[in-house]
């Protein structure tokens, strides 16, 4: 490791930490460009955002279908949140870290992790199926907000090591009520750590609406309490999410400290396939978000500008369909799991007691397999 940085200067905090009254938007629900603070991403980036959202939605649908076929234990859908998920991931650089939650599988896939490895958790084969270092993606976190602190630690360590690395911590609206969100925002602010806190406000924490989570004017308003700028973005506008997160990443990387982003979106599906959303929200409410669909919106913009023709759109659909088919095929096999693995990664080397328990399990399995020679 490089030598540790000298003492960091005390941060000078500017005013203007409060979010704007209206969420930052670049493309409105009708697909029209909206002038504002953010710069419209380049055409190539917009096309890539759209492509990845199409792939993400198809992945999401396929994953939900796999729960019905018994191939996944559970799947928390991100349907409707593709602009937030993909916009944030595309804004990250290769050297940055992503800290996703259980709902952010499409973000992890979009970051380049093998989808089958991503679904290892939800398939029930292991708690994390991918190497976090391969794409700098932390394991998907199931407890709320705890990984935000890990993001702060990774980012602070990067600064100490003079590495140009930003950590993006994904959170949901419900997670903002957890103590670790508060602690992470505070530590990041005090240390001026290069962290982007990215809250996807999708309206519900399982069944509980935002009004029961907070009395704050908005979630982005919480930033000022820590000395962190709070930014609200239309989370169904992939262009705005990309531009807003990119701006935060560049600022944090340049030593500007952490940023709190609230992306306003909507969870179109139930919490998971096991949830019944009709018990706590109306179909009218769900239907009201259909015109704000993130894919429709960006497609209208791209089509309107002549950047996406019918042929290209059809090619994207075909690519997504092929991806889903490949995923289906790869998931449609029985897992090959070795119960002896249970003991292998508890410590760097198994303890004598763990080796003993490993042997006990092996004997038990051998006896069940009808090995008449095996005695206990």
């Amino acid at each position: 490791m490089a030598s540790i940085a000298p003492e960091m200067p005390a941060p000078t905090r500017a005013l203007g930490l409060l979010p704007d009254d209206t969420p930052l938007t670049l493309v409105d629900a009708d697909g029209r460009a909206v002038p504002g603070d953010l710069d419209m991403p380049a055409d190539g980036i917009l096309l890539e955002l759209y492509r990845r959202m199409v792939l993400a939605r198809r992945f999401d649908t396929q994953a939900t279908a796999l729960t019905r076929q018994g191939r996944l234990a559970v799947y928390p859908s991100a349907h409707g949140q593709e602009a937030a998920e993909i916009g944030a991931v595309v804004a990250l650089r290769e050297q940055d870290w992503l800290f996703p939650t259980y709902r952010d599988s499409v973000a992890v896939v979009s970051r380049g992790v093998d989808p089958v490895e991503v679904l290892t958790l939800l398939r029930g084969d292991w708690h994390c199926g991918y190497d976090p270092y391969s794409r700098r993606v932390a394991p998907q976190c199931t407890p709320l907000a705890t990984s935000a602190l890990h993001a702060v630690g990774v980012a602070h360590a990067a600064r100490l090591k003079h590495e140009d690395t930003v950590a993006l911590a994904m959170l949901g609206d419900g997670a903002t009520s957890e103590g670790d969100t508060h602690v992470a925002l505070n530590f990041a602010a005090v240390w001026q750590a290069p962290v982007v806190f990215f809250v996807q406000n999708n309206g519900y924490a399982i069944s509980v609406p935002l009004a029961r989570q907070t009395a704050a004017p908005t979630l982005a308003h919480k930033g000022i309490g820590y000395g962190i700028p709070g930014v609200r973005i239309d989370g169904n506008d992939a262009a705005a999410v990309y531009a807003g997160v990119r701006r935060a990443v560049v600022s944090a990387a340049a030593g500007g400290g952490p940023v709190l982003i609230e992306a306003l979106t909507y969870r179109v599906e139930a919490h998971t396939n096991a949830d019944d959303a009709t018990r706590y929200r109306s179909q009218e409410e769900v239907d009201s978000w259909v015109p704000r669909d993130p894919l429709t919106r960006l497609r209208r913009y791209l089509t309107g500008r002549g950047l996406l023709g019918d042929q290209a759109a059809a090619a994207l659909e075909a690519e997504a369909e092929a991806g889903a088919a490949a995923l289906r095929e790869r998931m449609n096999t029985d897992s090959a799991l070795d119960p002896a693995d249970l003991f292998e990664h508890v410590y760097a080397a198994p303890t004598a007691a763990l080796r003993g328990q490993q042997r006990e399990l092996a004997w038990e399995l051998a006896a069940e397999a009808g090995d008449g020679e095996q005695t206990r």
Partner: protein
């Protein structure tokens, strides 16, 4: 089995039990380097300083560990010597200290963090149990977290509420953590150096009532491995199994019992997780009797695990049930009452007395 003399009746029961004999000197290493007299706090300070000097990925942080040097002065002088990017104060939030340590370890550093007091570590419990302990397992060994969490623990220092907990069982129950606790200044140095070098997360419990205990010793870390117990005093009649502050109390009891004719072996466990079955069972198979001593409450306390393991592994060698001398099953008492709660030399001696010696003696008298 040596012959057992009947001890004098013990009628005085002052709280905390005045020791009937002086304190036994701990075993001393045969020094090649020159021995020096250090306190446990001083030995821990040296271990941190030497680790910081040897490995620039080591960081020390927590509450008041910088300019103040920690409320027990264990980090005294480290910030001045190593700079405030390597030894620094954090905001006051234990989950933040451990949670960010996890992230720093993910990114190649070796954090050594301090929880100011045992009971103040509980806000970090989720980070310790659900993340620090599990991340290696979750990622099939791809993410190692070499983090040390130093926690001053235990009572006997007159601390007010929430400053005297013995929380070792919570951590020892959690797979993926190593849990160690030193009983002597020399071992404090050794264990802390080994803990910092360990690729696994270590909960390092410091018996705060022994912080100012002195020992003439050589500070090095070539001693017994991180997961080994040590025999602090050899004996042949009964094995006292203790750790942390109670290792010293057990040695005092062994000395007193010696005056009464018992030959008492004292094992200082050092490592609570993993448990050193080899050292403990070898001793108990030889002595045939065992008493486990700890400050923590008896119910589901660490001694329950020790007693269960001994009955599983040494049943046919045991001359008497394994006894536990432990704190009562009460919230830690206020300072003016804590001596009634803490295991004392006399309580340990009573437990030794109760180990069915008369039957053995009767057999011996019958010509066995």
């Amino acid at each position: 089995m040596t012959a057992i003399a009947e001890g004098p009746a013990r009628t005085q029961r002052a709280p905390g039990g005045q020791a009937r004999t002086g304190r036994a000197a701990p075993e001393q290493a045969a020094p090649e380097q020159e021995a020096e007299t250090v306190t446990m706090a001083g030995a821990l300070n040296r271990a941190l300083a030497d680790a910081l000097a040897d490995d620039e990925t080591v960081l020390v942080f927590g509450e008041d560990v910088g300019a103040l040097g920690g409320v027990f002065r264990v980090t005294d002088g480290l910030a001045a010597r190593f700079g405030e990017t390597r030894v620094f104060d954090t905001p006051l939030a234990e989950s933040g200290i451990v949670g960010t340590a996890i992230g720093m370890a993910m990114n190649g550093l070796r954090p050594v963090v301090e929880m100011q007091f045992d009971a103040f570590a509980y806000p970090a419990f989720e980070q310790i149990v659900s993340h620090l302990a599990k991340l290696r397992n979750r990622t099939r060994g791809r993410v190692a977290l070499p983090v040390v969490i130093r926690i001053p623990y235990g009572g006997g220092v007159g601390g007010v509420e929430h400053h005297s907990d013995s929380s070792e069982a919570y951590y020892a129950h959690t797979a993926g953590l190593r849990v160690v606790t030193p009983g002597t200044p020399g071992d404090a140095y050794t264990l802390l150096r080994l803990a910092i070098e360990s690729p696994d997360p270590v909960v390092f419990l410091e018996p705060k009532r022994r912080y100012w205990a002195r020992e003439a010793t050589v500070l090095d870390h070539t001693g017994p491995a991180l997961d080994r117990a040590v025999v602090r005093r050899p004996g042949s009649d009964v094995t006292l199994i203790a750790y942390g502050a109670m290792a010293g109390t057990a040695l005092e009891a062994a000395e007193a019992a010696g005056a009464e004719g018992y030959s008492v072996e004292v094992i200082d466990l050092r490592s609570l997780s993993p448990f050193d079955d080899d050292t403990v069972t070898a001793s108990v198979r030889r002595t045939g009797r065992a008493v486990v001593v700890h400050e923590a409450s008896r119910f589901c306390g660490y001694g329950a695990e020790v007693a269960a393991r001994l009955s599983e592994q040494c049943f046919h060698y045991l001359e008497a049930p394994v006894r536990r001398v432990a704190g009562f099953d009460i919230p830690y008492p206020p300072p003016h009452l804590e001596d009634y709660h803490l295991p004392s030399v006399d309580r340990i001696l009573d437990a030794i007395d109760s180990l069915q010696w008369r039957e053995t003696r009767g057999d011996a008298e019958a010509g066995r």
